[in-house]
Symmetry: C2
C-alpha cells in the first residue's frame, strides 16, 4: 500500500492538509533530534568521551519540549477538525509515537550520563565492542522506523520489529558477558555495572523503536498489531498485499 | 476542583455519557488488575514464592488485551462523537494512561520472572527488606493514582509525583547496597543482580504511576504538566484553588 492509497492529502480544506503535514513534519524533526541523541550517546560511550555524554544529557529538554508541543497541536486539530478514518488514525499514531520518541530521548540521556561516568572508569578489554555493535543496530532502527513513518511503509515497519529480536539477543549476550567479567574480577564490578545499564538503555530503545513500527502498521492497516506475534503480523501484511 | 465542576455528565446524549462512563470504568478495571499484578509480584519476590511469580508473569496477556480493547473504544468514540473540551481531554488522558498501565504490567511480569529465578538462589541476609519497602510504596502509588483518576483529584495526583522522589532515592540506596554486597562477596553477584533488576522494575513502576498522575492533572487543568518541576505544578494548583 503506497502513501497515495491512503488519501492523506485529499481534504477539501487546504488548511487542514497543511496542519496534518505540519504535524507529520514535526514528528520527523523530533525523531531526527532523538536519532542524533542516540548516536551521539553511543559514540560518547564507546569513545569514552565524557564531555559529549554530558552534552547529550543536557540536550534532552529539547526533546521533551517537542513532545509537549506536538501533543498540544494534535489536540487542537482533534478539537477543531474532528478528523475521521485515516486522519484520526494518523493523529492517534502520532500521539503514541511521540511518547516513545520522548522515552528514547530519556534513554539516550541515561547513556550520556553513563558515558560521562565510564570515561573515568576504564572497562575490561573487549567489553565495549559488543555494546558498540548493539548501539549501531538500535540507532539504525530509530532511523529506519522514522523513515517507515515518513513513507508509510508497513513492510519496513515489520522488519524493524524483527530487528528487535536481534537486539534482545545481543542484550542477553552482553548481560552474560558482564556477569562473567564481574565474577572473574570483582574489581570490575563498578564499571561493568555502568556498562550493563547502558546496554539495558539500548535494549529499551530497541523496544520503543519497535513500538513505533507497530503504530506505523496500525496507521496503514487500521489494525492494532501490538501484542501480536511477528508471524501473525507477517501473515496479515501478506494477505493485504497478495 | 471537584468532579461536578468538570460537567463530565452534562451531555445531551445519554448514550455518549454511557460510553464515557464505560471507558472510565474499563480503565479502573484494567488498573485494578495491574495493581494486583504489582502487589503479587512483590509478594512473590519477598516471600521467595517462585510459583506465584510465574503466575503473575503468565497473567500479563490479560493486561495487554485490556489496553487494546480500551484503545479501540477510545478511537470509536473519537470518530463517532467528535468530543470537544473536557471530553476530548478525558479520551486523550485515557489513551496515555492505559499505555503506562500496560507498561506497569510489563514490569510486574519481569518482577514475577525475577521472583521465580530468585526463589532458587538465596539472596544475602537483609537484602530483601528494602526491596519490600519500595515494593509496598509503588503498589500504593498505583492504587492512589487510580483513585485520583476516579475522583479527578489533582492534589492527590500531585502527591503521587512527590512520592516518586522517595521511590527514586530508595532505588539509589538499594543500588548502592547491591554494589556493596557484590564487592564484599562475589558469590552473591548472580542473585544480587536479579534483585537489582527487580528494584529497577519497581523504580519504573513509580515513574509510570507518576506519569498517570500528570495525565490526571492535565485532565483537570487542561494543562500539560509533564516535564514541569514539582514546585511549579504546586504553585499552579494553588493559584487555581486560591
Amino acid at each position: 500500500m503506497s502513501n497515495a492509497d491512503l488519501h492523506l492529502s485529499s481534504h477539501i480544506s487546504k488548511q487542514f492538509n497543511a496542519e496534518l503535514d505540519d504535524i507529520r513534519q514535526r514528528v520527523l524533526t523530533m525523531g531526527g533530534l532523538v536519532e542524533q541523541q542516540v548516536s551521539e550517546a553511543v559514540r560518547a560511550l564507546t569513545e569514552a568521551d565524557g564531555e559529549l555524554g554530558q552534552q547529550v544529557a543536557n540536550r534532552d529538554y529539547k526533546v521533551n519540549a517537542m513532545e509537549v508541543g506536538i501533543d498540544e497541536e494534535c489536540i487542537r486539530v482533534l478539537a477543531r477538525r474532528q478528523p475521521a478514518a485515516t486522519d484520526l488514525r494518523l493523529i492517534m499514531a502520532v500521539v503514541k509515537t511521540i511518547t516513545d520518541l520522548e522515552r528514547i530521548g530519556d534513554e539516550a540521556e541515561k547513556i550520556g550520563r553513563m558515558a560521562a561516568s565510564l570515561a573515568a572508569n576504564p572497562t575490561p578489554a573487549g567489553s565495549l565492542s559488543p555494546v558498540e555493535t548493539m548501539g549501531r543496530r538500535v540507532s539504525s532502527m530509530v532511523h529506519r522506523v522514522l523513515d517507515a513513518f515518513a513513507r508509510l511503509d508497513a513492510e519496513d515497519a515489520l522488519e524493524i520489529a524483527k530487528e528487535d529480536r536481534k537486539v534482545d539477543s545481543e542484550y542477553d549476550a552482553i548481560s552474560r558477558q558482564c556477569l562473567t567479567f564481574m565474577l572473574e574480577d570483582p574489581r570490575t564490578i563498578r564499571p561493568v555495572m555502568d556498562l550493563q545499564w547502558a546496554a539495558r538503555a539500548l535494549e529499551r530503545i530497541g523496544d520503543h523503536a519497535s513500538n513505533i513500527g507497530e503504530y506505523v502498521i496500525y496507521l496503514i492497516q487500521g489494525k492494532d498489531v501490538r501484542h501480536t506475534s511477528l508471524a501473525q503480523m507477517e501473515a496479515e501484511l501478506e494477505a493485504r498485499n497478495g
